[in-house]
């Protein structure tokens, strides 16, 4: 009999580490952790430095009955999700961008997708306002100086680029706020500056009856930290906001452990507690891909 519940982290990259740290802080002593990481050097250093149980393949981990975090490059998301569900995982959290454009995972109540902006107090407040006052127009902007050198590996291929990596968050936010399934793209612009894929992207379009626009730039040297911001025009007023402030203010939510933001802690506590009051399922995540595909290829 297992003494503790198990969390399996697949992929020990930046997000795998972040989520594991938040869970360790939120739930000290509650879980045993198993890490699935294909890189032998990373496994050896992780085991010897921190004492994690590490495995080269998901087949070696105790997936049955466990909570699984999939934080790998997106090309293997679909295969890993299927494998975890088939192996009896209790719940599966998949980082965005979820899956491949052509290979879809069937919806399953055990799957949640890591579109973290839904958990921001700004997003939650905007959603309430839109429910009461409607939305004539919403525009979002993401600016950062994330890319200073050409990235290596999958980040410089078809699953990389600012549209997949950051735009997917903001497209999900638009669809979430407007209860939409699709965005009709009227005009678009993409530019490659440092990477071989898209570094600057913008579009204008419609989601339902609301006008929407999005501007993404992750090679903007004017920014030290990543910043997203926007403007909401309701039937009654214009509201400016950004990732940490809202013109009309909001009450911050208390969290028991803070690493990168309250939204990240809330995302993990919702996942572990099975709280679906804020939740992105695989169908909703696939809608984000449909919009991205439309911008990229149409």
């Amino acid at each position: 009999m297992k003494s503790k519940e198990i969390i399996v982290v697949i992929g020990w990259g930046r997000m795998g580490i972040t989520h594991a740290a938040i869970l360790g802080g939120l739930y000290p002593e509650r879980f045993e952790y198993q890490v699935v990481e294909p890189d032998k050097k990373v496994r050896k250093i992780l085991t010897n430095s921190l004492g994690y149980d590490c495995f080269a393949s998901i087949d070696e981990a105790d997936v049955n009955g466990s909570h699984v975090l999939i934080t790998t490059p997106p090309s293997v998301h679909e295969r890993l999700v299927k494998k975890c569900i088939d192996s009896g995982a209790q719940s599966v959290f998949v980082e965005k961008p979820f899956g491949l454009f052509d290979n879809r995972v069937e919806n399953d109540s055990r799957i949640s997708v890591g579109y973290v902006l839904r958990f921001s107090e700004v997003t939650q407040t905007l959603k309430k306002i839109i429910l009461e006052e409607g939305c004539r127009e919403i525009s979002l902007d993401y600016s950062s100086n994330t890319l200073v050198k050409k990235p290596k590996g999958w980040r410089n291929g078809q699953y990389g680029g600012v549209l997949n990596e950051m735009g997917s968050h903001l497209i999900d936010m638009i669809l979430y706020l407007l209860d939409g399934e699709n965005i009709q793209i009227d005009s678009k612009y993409t530019e490659s500056v440092i990477s071989d894929v898209d570094d600057i992207v913008s579009f204008e379009g419609k989601c339902g009856s609301s006008l929407v626009s999005l501007s993404l730039n992750w090679v903007n040297k004017d920014y030290r930290k990543p910043v997203w911001s926007g403007t909401l025009v309701t039937e009654k007023r214009v509201i400016k906001f950004d990732q940490q402030s809202l013109g009309i203010g909001f009450d911050p939510i208390e969290v028991d452990y803070y690493v990168r933001g309250r939204d990240f802690s809330l995302q993990m506590s919702h996942f572990i507690e099975g709280d679906t009051s804020i939740f992105c399922n695989s169908i909703q995540a696939n809608h984000v891909h449909d919009v991205i595909t439309c911008i990229k290829y149409n």
Binding site: W12, G13, R14, I17, T18, A20, A21, I22, L23, G24, G25, P28, Y33, D39, K41, V42, K44, I45, T47, N48, S49, L50, G51, Y52, T146, L147, V148, K149, K150, P151, K152, G153, R155, D222, Y223, R224, K225, V227, S229, D242, Q243, Q244, S245, G249, P252, E254, V255, D256, Y257, Y258, V259, R260
Partner: protein
Amino acid sequence: MKILLGDNQFFGVNHTDLKKGSEIQQMFSSAEKITKFIDESLELGLDGFMINSNALGYKVVNEYKFEDQSNKECHYSIPYPHKYASMVNESGMLALLSFVLRNIRIYDIINVIRFIFSSNAVFLLPIIIRMEIPKNLPQGSVIYLQNVITDLVMGLKNGSRIIQFYITSIERLGYKAGIITLNPGHFRKNFQEFAGQKDIFLCFNINKTGFNVFPSVEEVQDEIAYIKSNTKWQLVGMSVFSSGSSRVTIKDSIDFIKSQPLDYVVFGTSKLNNVKTNLNLINSANS
């Protein structure tokens, strides 16, 4: 209660108004401009300044004339997390290892050998620390571990070992160890036994409105009282003005802070007038 100048204004950080933060950053575009503001603030009566080890902060400290400010304190924080995050983003986790190994010096060899034989990354920590500290930083200064790193490592399995090693390494170098965390209660529970009687500087958010105070103002107040009664730690309050929130006045913020048994407060501002006003209010509260 000692009063330190913070550094957010120098580097475009404003936790409630990103645009304002960016505008103010333009005023401090060079090490010379930052140094001038620090000097003028210290002349007004601040006890010292806190600054991060990003490229500009490192340059400020490395060129600072500490001999002219011998009774003032420098509180330095390491590392600059975005540098390492960008590395991981671009080239993966092993890029960090590669970066460290590319920057070793002859006196790092023993630690590199210990790392090679053990695959225990803790042996690389002294090398990273050495890379982040300017040679000009006076012995006895406080060197903090940035909250992004503290809180990330503290949540990991056996992460406490890494932080213990950090504290020991800083002390061995002749500095005082500081920890910045947004989870002071977790830190105390994890480290009281190891470091309760050490001269640790613990820096965390505390303010009247509860802005970024985790898990709550009441619980952090309880922690402050507990820590003061049971450890030798020096407590440093930051975000004391709720990051300029309009929900509370400066006077109310200061009245709240003065009611806490803190050893230091740190605040950032781009205006010398604010330094003077805050200093007067805190000092009158102190007396």
